[in-house]
């Protein structure tokens, strides 16, 4: 059954933003301003950490340390990892959540607007601390995992700055998490049940619960580590009887869930983008919603799979192997549902859709290698090798970053009120896709063949594959330029978007672009389910909204 596109019933309010550019540089309590502050800040750190990635790859174009040098290399790789995780992917999740959740559930703002502003303003000092350590030429050098005893003996200043920075960013994410959970539970318009929410809200609910359970444990680990570092205690320091393995347990109790903190929001974005541009309802709404919650739960009981070759007894390895493997089930449900959503639709292959489909296919590769590394005997071979580097870049770049770009192309018209240029968007996509696969696919083979990760110097036998990776990373670096130019140009000069350029059905498209300060002129009416594409309503004009809703529900 097909029908003409559905149009929202409520007409958008006057699209005149009552906002000054200075608002974006101060302490704002408007979730939309805070959202954009998060976006721009985290994108800045993406560029910085991306330059670091490029310099790492240039260094690795030859087997010997000749570009960064051995002393600087570990500093650059530590900062690259830390910034990409804590200053780009995690805060960008918060950026989308801040901007979209109140709009999606018809609220005027977040539940705690001041706390929201505070959460954002913890991020820039966190980033500045890390950059300062680099400027002082004393960057942390123990990797983003910061395992003791190495982190205890390699430069107190840099390590302390790293700890403080991550503590600030962790605090920010806890404050954000509290806010998202409360907002989702308390601020929805009255017609909206949990099952009427867009799936992004479900995924942020799962993410926030995960943040609230796991992040405090990281804070605990880092505080104890800082005591070992500056006060001479021996929680993790073996020379005083401490146990470095305890640090690993505490660290991964947060840092494994952290990968879901990074990818779950993107799962939500994709679940909201695919139906709009495929012009079909999301396939299996409840399955996707519940699988987010299942992933959040399972994500908390798999941390020791990062420690299969560490001090972990055999029986424990087997337990964590089984728990880890099970995550493939809810993740598989999502992937199949996305494919089924696209299948049989009427796909508009614009930049947002290309990145969204790119996300599904790249994340698929990361997921398949993820099941492999869950297997203890196989992981023993590839742990701490380039196979792992390949795996997590497929998940975190192929997954998170592709999804983030899909989200930016999709919601940019809403946030800025102007469309982005599609041609430049497609060039961005093609360059990213080629560069990404060239940069990261060969790393699977490098790792299997015997190249450990985090080395500045490697066996010359691996030179060719490393050079392929380096070429790929340069293309990837260049791919950012069309996006930057496009975003900057479209921000001021792009064609006016209108309230609902994609003909989407979720509530955020029912207000002006950009939305007015309190989002909606009057409380919006839930006139449709979030994904009721293809439902013919033309003859239903006389029916009331509640009758319409009942009909739509009956068809679900």
């Amino acid at each position: 059954m097909t029908s003409t596109s559905v149009e929202p019933k409520t007409s958008p309010p006057n699209p005149e933003p009552e906002r000054h550019w200075k608002d974006f540089f101060g302490f704002s309590t408007d979730h939309k301003v805070i959202g954009i502050q998060y976006f721009v800040t985290s994108f800045f750190f993406y560029l910085v950490a991306g330059l670091m990635a490029t310099s790492i790859r240039i260094e690795l174009a030859t087997p010997n340390p000749d570009f960064l040098g051995a002393e600087n290399y570990n500093g650059v790789l530590t900062l690259h990892g830390t910034m990409m995780i804590f200053l780009w992917i995690v805060p960008t999740g918060a950026a989308f959540a801040n901007y979209l959740i109140p709009l999606m559930i018809g609220a005027k703002d977040m539940a705690f607007p001041v706390l929201n502003g505070l959460a954002f303003w913890l991020v820039p000092p966190g980033g500045v601390l890390l950059l300062t350590s680099l400027i002082l030429n004393q960057p942390p050098v123990a990797g983003w995992t910061s395992y003791p005893p190495l982190s205890l003996i390699s430069g107190e200043v840099g390590e302390m700055m790293w700890i403080l920075s991550v503590l600030l960013l962790g605090t920010s994410s806890i404050l954000g998490g509290i806010n998202f959970v409360t907002t989702i539970f308390k601020m929805r318009i009255k017609d909206m049940s949990l099952y009427d929410m867009p799936l992004f809200c479900w995924s942020m609910l799962a993410t926030s619960l995960l943040i609230l359970v796991s992040t405090p444990v990281l804070a605990g680990a880092l505080i104890l580590l800082s005591f070992d570092l500056i006060a001479g205690t021996a929680f993790f320091n073996p020379t005083g009887g401490g146990d470095p393995i305890v640090y690993q347990h505490m660290f991964w109790f947060y840092s494994h869930p952290a990968v879901y903190i990074m990818i779950l929001p993107v799962f939500g974005l994709i679940s909201d983008i695919l139906p709009v541009h495929a012009r079909k309802p999301i396939f299996g709404y409840k399955a996707i919603a519940y699988s987010s919650i299942a992933i959040a739960f399972l994500g908390n009981i798999v941390w020791a799979h990062h420690m299969f070759t560490s001090g972990t007894p055999g029986w424990l390895r087997v337990f964590f192997m089984a728990a880890t493997m099970i995550i493939a089930v809810p993740t598989g449900i999502k992937v199949f549902s996305w494919v089924a959503t696209v299948w049989g639709g009427k796909l508009r292959l614009n930049s947002a859709m290309l990145f969204a489909i790119g996300f599904v296919s790249m994340f698929l590769i990361g997921g398949l290698s993820g099941v492999m590394v869950a297997s203890v005997p196989f992981d023993i071979h590839v742990h701490d090798t380039y196979f792992i580097v390949a795996h997590f870049h497929y998940v975190l770049f192929g997954g998170s970053v592709f999804g983030i770009f899909a989200g930016i192309y999709h919601w940019f018209p809403k946030m800025v009120g102007r469309m982005m240029n599609e041609t430049w968007g497609k060039i961005h996509f093609v360059l990213t896709f080629i560069g990404f696969n060239l940069a990261f696919f060969p790393m699977h083979i490098l790792g299997l063949q015997g190249m450990p990760r985090r080395v500045v110097q490697y066996d010359p036998a691996f030179t060719t594959l490393n050079q392929v990776c380096t070429v790929g990373s340069l293309i990837l670096a260049v791919s950012t330029l069309p996006f930057l130019v496009n975003a900057a140009w479209s921000w001021f000069k792009g064609p006016i978007a209108g309230a609902n350029p994609w003909n989407a059905l979720t509530l955020e498209w029912q207000t002006s672009s950009p939305p007015i300060i309190e989002n909606f002129e009057e409380e919006p009416v839930l006139w449709s389910g979030p994904y009721d594409y293809g439902v013919d309503r033309e003859q239903d004009d006389d029916k009331s909204v509640s009758e319409l809703l009942a009909e739509v529900k009956a068809q679900m």
């Binding site: 299948w343 015997g450 985090r454």
Partner: protein, 326 residues
């Protein structure tokens, strides 16, 4: 000629199966398999590659077909069919990953058990030990009579309860490996082992965490300060293989590598005898010499690097202090 959908699907399914089965065996991504354990891991990996290839082709194929077949026709602004779900389909694709991960879990468990991962002796963790004497306490690094061997890959089920034929104490320190043969007191900077005999490495770390990785054996185990770990294996193919530190251990982590030399048993005995003789004549290597060799190697390797001679000197000064702990 237009084939009915069911036949195209069938042909596609057969093709996907055949390609996956072939590629799972012929990817050529693993290095040489040189230990008893390696083929076990390789067979498991081949099976995972087969499944992964099949899933990749199916899902990626569906996406690519969708991009071409279900693309919006110009001027067609209608929506697609309002399909919200299909319980049957959803049950099937929940069941597929469930079955796959169950099969993989059981198979992985079997392989891990066969490798010796579930040897109870390798799961007995006595807890951390102090690595050095701390003023004011009387506890030394090693308590006599306590078997600290724990954690890692132990004896295969057939070997459980038997001692390994070759025992080697492995010490990792920035940035070298030192191998001590406790039965003869021979010290070496390379690991020499006989083919076809059970070898047990008792692994310790001096300063920070390191990891023993021998890619051709498919084995890896962290060396953790204050806690011994172990790897037990049987080298099968004679030859020289890299032994690599796989855990970030400092600026020269990438240079922390040495060799495993798998001899025939006869050659191994000759090597051992020559080392014992050299030791008795006073020509045998000492730990300090191995470290000095490493320093020279580092100095040689680092002469082109942008590091100051002072940094190297600092490294060399650190070593006497370390030897004190040995």
């Amino acid at each position: 000629m237009k084939l009915p959908t069911s036949i195209t699907t069938l042909i596609a399914g057969i093709l996907v199966t055949l390609i996956s089965l072939w590629y799972g065996q012929h990817h050529g991504w693993m290095p040489e398999a040189a230990s008893r354990e390696a083929p076990l891991v390789d067979d498991l990996f081949n099976m995972m590659m087969t499944i992964a290839t099949a899933l990749f082709l199916l899902i990626q194929g569906a996406l690519i077909i969708a991009i071409f077949r279900f693309r919006q026709k110009p001027g067609d602004n209608t929506d697609g069919p309002p399909l919200e779900g299909d319980i049957g389909l959803e049950i099937v694709w929940t069941a597929i990953p469930v079955v796959i991960v169950m099969v993989l879990s059981v198979y992985s468990f079997e392989v891990y058990n066969e490798m010796g991962g579930l040897d109870p002796a390798a799961s007995r963790d006595p807890g951390p030990q102090k690595t050095a004497v701390v003023p004011g306490t009387a506890m030394a690094a090693t308590l006599p009579g306590q078997d600290k061997i724990a954690l890692g890959v132990g004896a295969s089920p057939k070997q459980q309860g038997n001692n390994a034929m070759v025992n080697v104490d492995v010490l990792g320190l920035q940035y070298a490996w030192i191998f001590t043969y406790p039965d003869s007191g021979v010290v070496s900077g390379e690991l020499h082992v006989p083919a076809g005999q059970d070898v047990k490495l008792k692994i310790a770390a001096q300063d920070v965490i390191h990891a023993v990785w021998i890619p051709q054996f498919r084995l890896k185990q962290d060396a953790i300060p204050g806690r011994d770990t172990q790897l037990r294996f049987k080298p099968e193919v004679t030859g020289t293989y890299p032994l690599i530190c796989a855990e970030l251990c400092g600026a020269y982590h990438g240079a922390m590598r040495t060799q495993v030399i798998v001899h025939t048993p006869e050659e191994y005995d000759e090597w051992l005898q020559s080392q014992i003789a050299a030791k008795e004549h006073g020509d045998g290597l000492t730990v300090a010499q191995i470290m000095a060799n490493t320093d020279n190697r580092l100095a040689r390797q680092t002469q082109d690097w942008n590091i100051s001679p002072e940094a190297i000197a600092t490294l060399q000064h650190m070593h006497p202090q370390m030897h004190h702990h040995l």
